[in-house]
Symmetry: C2
Subunit: 390 residues, 2 copies
Amino acid sequence: MNKFMYALTAALCFGAISANAQVKEDFVPSPNNQSGKQYPMVNSERRVRVKINAPDAKSVKLDIGSKKYDLVKGEDGQWTGTSDPQDEGFHYYQINIDGADVPDPSTMYYYGCSRWGSGIDVPAADQDFYQLKDVPQGEIREIYYWSDYNKAMRHCYVYTPAGYDIDKDKRYPVLYLQHGGGESEHGWAQQGKTGIILDNLIAEGKALPFIVVMDNGTWMSFKRADGSSLAMGPRRPGQGGGMNLPEDWTEGFRNTLIQDIVPMIDNRFRTIADKDHRALAGLSMGAMETKEIGLRRPDVFGSLGIFSGGTISAEEAAAAPGFMKNNNLTFVSYGSREIEGGRQGGDPKQITDGLAATGCNAHYYVSDQTAHEWQSWRRSLYQFAQLLWK
Amino acid sequence: MNKFMYALTAALCFGAISANAQVKEDFVPSPNNQSGKQYPMVNSERRVRVKINAPDAKSVKLDIGSKKYDLVKGEDGQWTGTSDPQDEGFHYYQINIDGADVPDPSTMYYYGCSRWGSGIDVPAADQDFYQLKDVPQGEIREIYYWSDYNKAMRHCYVYTPAGYDIDKDKRYPVLYLQHGGGESEHGWAQQGKTGIILDNLIAEGKALPFIVVMDNGTWMSFKRADGSSLAMGPRRPGQGGGMNLPEDWTEGFRNTLIQDIVPMIDNRFRTIADKDHRALAGLSMGAMETKEIGLRRPDVFGSLGIFSGGTISAEEAAAAPGFMKNNNLTFVSYGSREIEGGRQGGDPKQITDGLAATGCNAHYYVSDQTAHEWQSWRRSLYQFAQLLWK
């Protein structure tokens, strides 16, 4: 193929990706690229462009946002292609080479979709809140600990705010912050940008300093107290946002959290070890866990953050022993694209407002123009952190 | 291809990998696999077996230990193949699919060979010293900090030993521990297993507790003090283990380390901030940096660890102002396969013994049956840590 033909083919292909769309050629390297890598790139229209060296391949595709885009091979053996505009924020993606789903070898890797794979951050109008800045810096600490409930060593991340090691007598509240299904304790520490979001908020005086614990809450990986498997248990149809979940599906994670993780953290860190200074929050599956555990144990977790995974109704709150007396804050959020056209079980804003009307300190937030994805959850953390412990 | 033909082809192929070798079928999943993944596997002969789904590919290869192995396609579209026996310990590797070099989608990822890519740990007779155990656990802390020399935020990991947050007045010595070329600050924190090695050594009373700082020392990424680029400078032929390096190639990293990193650490952590309680060590490129910086600034770093990157002769020590007076420990190590057949510039054991003969506390260690690879460096850290601050 000569250069003219290649340019023509490429133009036709890129043009064909989004009908009648002229792609704006202002692409810049993604911030998630490995050191020195030019591709993948993003442009101001929030399109993703990848470039992969696969000289002998018959077919190479970009798989992002539940859509596969055929790439076009250049004379140099490099395959290139451009996606439709993506939502602002972080997206998992992969490359398919002759039928093999693999990470793009040019990006850093993130755990999601039950795999370590490629990620890309599309510029966002409000991205300043999760940009690394020269403000007083906290730390994210990697810790292994013994879990007696699981009879195994486990792994978590703990964010400590700036100054934790300076004033050695000061004690802090703690937020337990959970990931979604197919994710892990790495999610909030990496693509969630928890450390940067909190460092910036605390530096601006918008949030009080607190500790954040990020552990793995994959419910089916835990056993029940009687030793039986949660993964194998009978499922109830249609529970928990349409998912079929077993009866009391949070039992294993809840026992691990309350019997092992919370005491380990209270022992190891200078916490204020009471329910008024302990919050539980999560996204998607982690939000559903927050609701289930929060309703059962308001004596342990006084504040709740439910991101993209349900809400708590006035009726549920009233039926949960001790909830109305103990709960200090219930924060509910969704990405705007998640609630377009309504949701099964009713409008979450209306339900949350109903809870607030009973005297509960309940808040509702919608992330504009985002879906069930990390930009919704970064924004939810940003909002929730400003309400906590106040 | 029917099942008989497939079995025959596979048998021929696996058999052909290592002439006349019968592969022992006791493969188990690699400890570096992503959660739930069965492949890659390793067997008791230290062979690596991979399995990749690539139904439409023409050719798939396993690229490990500087050798490419053709994989064989099964009826299910999965490609499988087995390597020759590898050295004990950790190895980087990749998969080649129709000409595309990509990570194996089943492993966790490690930074080396100037990329994030696949890694595999081959069982080792002495692996107990880097196995996670239920002993008092330190932490590995992720920190961003402002570097005035580089006018940029930088990233490092800091290991703090178990009990750091309990006795809040105790102060600790500090080891600055450097990676090799094409690696980064992630190396010692991940595949180096620094935290586990030190937790185990300290728990057994074999090492005194100390802090370890792991930062990025990629020399060509730094500028000289006058603002000029180190990457672009003229190279001297044959310096530094055969590499062509510019004059005073450690200038940028050395200034960053001494002007920014050491004061940041001494400010942020409860260190004993003097040269008698400060060590510098590294592997390969990091070893060469340790030698260069250690000879120039014995007033800053009283102990040195040089792993697979040279040694210090009696003549070099005598010519370095203040070295003989200030140096408390010089540790030199190699993998046994690195020194087979001798080395340019002389036998490192003989040279190190020569340094010891002048009264310097110099030690020499050889890692048995390993090459220029992480098993040599894990063992070197294990040995070096037991000599430090004693």
